[in-house]
């Protein structure tokens, strides 16, 4: 019986938490924080238990018929736990950070309600057992993130929200069309370890290619592949914890994770390769990698620069997926985790600078190092991780992607990786330089003393911890329970017939 209740319990924790928080009146801060943190830790424990179970090979899942012919299926398999683990872990930090960040601002009940609703849908996406359930949570994620994007209520935020909705709902409609067509053609939407479209007769190949294009386009909106990435930089107007969770973990990863599911568990990597759809996907991803980094170069606003960096980094995952072969998969999947950890740190630090010093632009960062040493150190570590300097997490991904590209004899990917690392260096090093090596010019735009340390305790420790995590994940890459080992396990299960 334990097989069924664990996934449900994981979802229920944040659903319940969001209901309680919605019901809480605005002034009950302490209760709301305890509910938040309790739910986050409980969820982390549940996900850890499930991960351990899945590692042992136990089955967790539940399925019931929701619509005639279509079932609502939750299933915890290896790749699901990869994404669920990431979301649960980073949600704990982001909640702590958000509590500190939103001290004294209005609408916190509404914020934390939708915040936990958003993570519930992210976990739903991770645990979905078939494309129908995936779509269900995919759309719920869109709805629960809109109020977070427009949380500040300023005209700018509302405009960003509008653009966000146009992109994501448009993508959702295209994805729905793809799912319905696939169901019409194949009649079966379940995720199976090595995909199940191998057997379909060749007459349907053009249709299947068309459907693949629709599915990837729908998912590409959230994965911010180039033509569809417009919403991400403008959504940076949201508060820092929202950009941290959404644009480093939940929303963008949902898109990339969707593509992983479609390529591996619906089409199957060999069938997708034989269809010839991986090559164009690799081109789009490669173009996004370069375009994202190029655009990031000229952004003067810190968070917009990080946003474009996210656009480029997510395309790494898609690039890894489209490299036919276990190495490429491992590269893509492990970057799913590494990018999350590194990007969350960067957004936390950006939030700290904005909240404590009132600094939003890159050229206002001069001399921030000595003023906020721990935050700047965390930023530097994460920045070097993004550039791909060993022994940090980013290097492991680039190494795996490089090896995967060579194994899949798509050697043209290596110059793309190198050019992107160069561009990463070009837009991160100047920031590190300004932080540490430039003296302070005049005083800070809006300096606020937030507690004994350089800033509020809840704002300071999350980024420091995630920075330490970046180093640990990189240094202990080959250790048994590291993300890389888990990605190997996933790739192993995917490529075994």
């Amino acid at each position: 019986m334990s097989g069924a209740w664990l996934p449900l319990a994981t979802l229920a924790t944040s659903l319940l938490a969001s209901l309680i928080i919605f019901a809480l009146p605005e002034h009950r801060h302490s209760i709301r924080t305890t509910v938040n943190i309790l739910a986050a830790t409980l969820k982390l424990a549940l996900v850890a238990a499930m991960t351990w179970g899945v590692f042992q090979g136990r089955f967790y899942g539940i399925s019931y018929e929701m619509l005639p012919g279509v079932r609502f299926v939750l299933r915890a398999d290896a790749v699901a736990m990869l994404f669920a683990g990431l979301s649960a872990l980073l949600w704990l930090f982001t909640t702590l950070y958000a509590v500190g960040y939103l001290e004294g601002s209005p609408n916190r009940s509404r914020f934390f309600g939708f915040f936990s609703l958003c993570v519930a849908s992210t976990l739903g996406i991770a645990l979905a057992g078939n494309l129908f359930t995936f779509f269900l949570f995919y759309e719920m994620l869109t709805l629960s993130t809109y109020p977070l994007v427009v949380h500040r209520g300023t005209p700018k935020a509302l405009r960003a929200g509008r653009q966000y909705i146009i992109y994501t709902l448009g993508g959702g409609a295209v994805l729905l069309l793809g799912v319905v067509l696939l169901y019409q053609l194949e009649g079966d939407l379940a995720f199976r370890e090595t995909g199940h479209l191998m057997g379909s007769d060749p007459a349907r190949y053009p249709a299947l290619i068309g459907i693949f294009a629709l599915l990837v386009a729908g998912l590409g909106v959230k994965a911010a592949l180039v033509p569809l990435h417009g919403w991400l930089p403008t959504a940076m107007v949201a508060p820092a914890p929202v950009s941290a969770l959404l644009h480093a973990v939940a929303v963008v990863k949902a898109g990339a994770f969707g593509i992983v599911r479609v390529v591996y568990d619906i089409y199957g990597i060999d069938f997708a390769a034989s269809l010839g759809v991986l090559e164009p996907l690799a081109w789009v991803a490669a173009f996004t990698v370069i375009y994202g980094s190029l655009r990031a170069l000229w952004q003067s606003d810190l968070k917009r620069r990080l946003a474009f960096s996210t656009v480029s980094q997510i395309a790494y995952i898609v690039l890894g997926i489209s490299l036919f072969g276990p190495l490429g998969t491992v590269g893509g999947l492990v970057h799913l985790l590494h990018q999350g950890i590194m990007k969350v740190t960067l957004f936390f630090c950006a939030g700290n600078y904005a909240e404590t010093l009132g600094v939003h632009r890159v050229d206002e960062l001069d001399g921030a190092g000595p003023r906020m040493p721990l935050t700047s150190l965390a930023f530097t570590v994460a920045a070097f991780g993004m550039i791909g300097i060993p022994p940090l997490a980013g290097f492991v991904t680039k190494w795996m992607l490089g090896r995967g590209a060579l194994a899949a004899d798509m050697a043209w990917v290596i110059p793309v990786l190198l050019l992107s690392s160069l561009l990463n260096a070009l837009y991160f090093l100047p920031i590190v330089y300004r932080l540490w090596f430039r003296p302070l010019r005049g005083d800070w735009p809006a300096e606020r003393a937030l507690g004994r340390l350089e800033t509020h305790a809840l704002l300071l420790w999350p980024p420091v911890f995630t920075a330490v995590l970046t180093v640990l994940v990189g240094v202990l890459a080959a250790a048994p329970f590291s993300p890389l080992a888990w990605a190997d396990l996933v790739a192993l299960r995917m490529y075994l017939p």
Binding site: P68, F72, P106, F135, L136, L143, L158, A173, Q184
Partner: protein, 488 residues
């Protein structure tokens, strides 16, 4: 046992109507609450009875159909009865708290309310065409009365416009009934269905007129002009009842007739025509909803758009394999149920918002999300179902309709569904945008009693939850009439 249920469903509302006529507002309200509970119990009992026994015919008073009133109960009818009980009870309770007894004419709300309920039950359970006509008329007169209740000149004007449109519609329907009776010599739907095989062109002409009349009463695109002012100006609970149930009654009759007669008479052209009109309704309704400055008019125009979806049933159930037609029927029924729940929730929530914001305009909603989270939340949840986003009932309906349209090869309806969903999102998010605007000064709004906000929330949650329990609902819905005849 079943006779008790049937009598209860048809006659108690009429009895309550007369009773409320004699009482003052507050006493009538108390009586109505009891009545509503009774109705709810009866509907649930009938639903449970049909769920395990299956559908049956029922002759009122024991007289056979040609003379006596033959009622017909099947899965579809009983589900709609339960739906009426749910939405009716909610709107009644809300009206009890929302309407201000001191204003003139308000005490006549309850009699008209019960009349409407009786008419609705009569239409759902009617077995023959003429009963449907009587039921429709009863609904129309009660509805017009409710629209104009205590209203000023604009309400009167809207009511007159509504009355004339509805009367023309029902007379056209009656003309159709007359021609069909002349053709087949029987009024009962089943009888007409069997005789349809050897039909002459006159029968298809009759069908055309009937459908035209019903389309006008259901405010399908060309004949929709009366709906927005009527639903926009009426009191919130009234417009909830109108948009949620009254409009559906005309569509229910049209669907029944079409499913019985349509396949036999080669009326494919009519089906496509209605489908095109439906699509036009979706686009025009949503476009207008985007441009309305007043909140209730936005919701009214949204009804015009959502009704367009229902009429997609006609092209999708004609000249297609049986399985596809069944899928289309299930889809449309889910759409009807989820729209009824969601739209009534939206109208009630809009009423609450207007009550507390003290202005009908959308822009006045700024800062609502901060001070009135509950009513905005129920409005939002209803919006989710209207947009057809998972896990709502609207999504389940959209999924089934998409399946049906793709399976039947008429892929263009799928395009309409997807575009419609996006347009619905456009006008729903327009309201969110307005409400998320931040307001500096302190709380400027009037806070209505908590219970007033709970009712739309319950309805919205039902619409949302419908998606998750779509399968059981559809299984009951599929129950056919069954052969045996039950008499008292």
């Amino acid at each position: 046992m079943s006779s008790l249920l049937m009598a209860g469903l048809l006659f108690t509302p009429l009895a309550w109507a007369v009773l409320c006529l004699l009482l003052a507002f507050r006493a009538a309200r108390l009586a109505s609450v009891i009545g509503m509970l009774l109705q709810m119990a009866l509907s649930l009992a009938l639903w449970a009875w049909v769920a395990e026994q299956g559908g049956f015919f029922y002759h009122l008073g024991g007289w056979a159909p040609p003379l006596g009133i033959g009622l017909r109960v099947d899965g579809l009818a009983v589900t709609f009865v339960l739906l009426t009980a749910l939405v009716g009870a909610a709107c009644g309770l809300h009206a009890g708290l929302y309407l201000d007894p001191s204003r003139p004419w308000q005490r006549y709300f309850w009699p008209l309310f019960w009349m409407l309920w009786a008419g609705l039950n009569a239409v759902w359970l009617a077995g023959d065409l003429f009963n449907l006509y009587v039921g429709l008329e009863l609904i129309t007169l009660a509805a017009v009365g409710l629209v104009v209740l205590g209203g000023a000149a604009p309400a009167l004007e809207a009511a007159l416009r509504y009355l004339f449109a509805a009367l023309i519609g029902s007379l056209a329907y009656l003309l159709g009934v007359a021609l069909l009776y002349a053709e087949f010599g029987s009024l009962s739907l089943v009888g007409v269905g069997e005789g349809a095989g050897s039909a002459s062109p006159a029968a298809s002409f009759a069908l055309l007129i009937m459908l035209f009349g019903l389309a006008v009463k259901a405010a399908l695109f060309p004949g929709h002009t009366w709906l927005p002012p009527a639903h926009g100006i009426a009191r919130a609970p009234v417009s909830a009842l109108l948009s949620g149930l009254v409009v559906k009654a005309a569509f229910y009759v049209a669907a029944r007739v079409w499913l019985e007669l349509g396949p036999a008479l080669e009326a494919a052209v009519v089906g496509v025509l209605l489908g095109v009109a439906g699509s036009a309704a979706v686009c025009w309704g949503s476009w207008q909803a985007l441009r309305q400055p007043q909140l209730k008019l936005v919701v009214a125009w949204s009804s015009v758009a959502q009704i367009g979806y229902l009429f997609l049933l006609f092209p999708l159930s004609h000249g297609v394999p049986e399985a596809v037609s069944l899928q289309a029927q299930q889809g449309v029924t889910l759409q009807v149920i989820s729209h009824a729940l969601a739209k009534s929730a939206m109208f009630l929530a809009a009423g609450n918002l207007i009550l507390s914001v003290r202005s009908k305009r959308v822009e006045a909603l700024a800062g609502v999300s901060r001070y009135l989270p509950l009513s905005l939340f129920s409005f939002g949840l209803a919006g989710v179902s209207l947009m057809g986003m998972p896990p709502s009932g609207g999504f389940a309906a959209k999924w089934l309709l998409l399946q049906a349209s793709l399976a039947s090869g008429q892929w263009w309806w799928a395009a309409v569904l997807l575009v419609g969903g996006l347009l619905a999102a456009a006008y729903v998010f327009r309201i969110y945008r307005a409400s998320f605007q931040e307001v500096e000064e302190s709380d400027p709004f009037y806070h209505p009693p908590r219970s007033l906000e709970i009712i739309p929330l319950v309805l919205a949650l039902l619409a949302l939850g419908l998606g998750l329990v779509a399968e059981p609902v559809l299984s009951v819905l599929g129950l056919p009439f069954g052969g045996e005849v039950l008499s008292p």
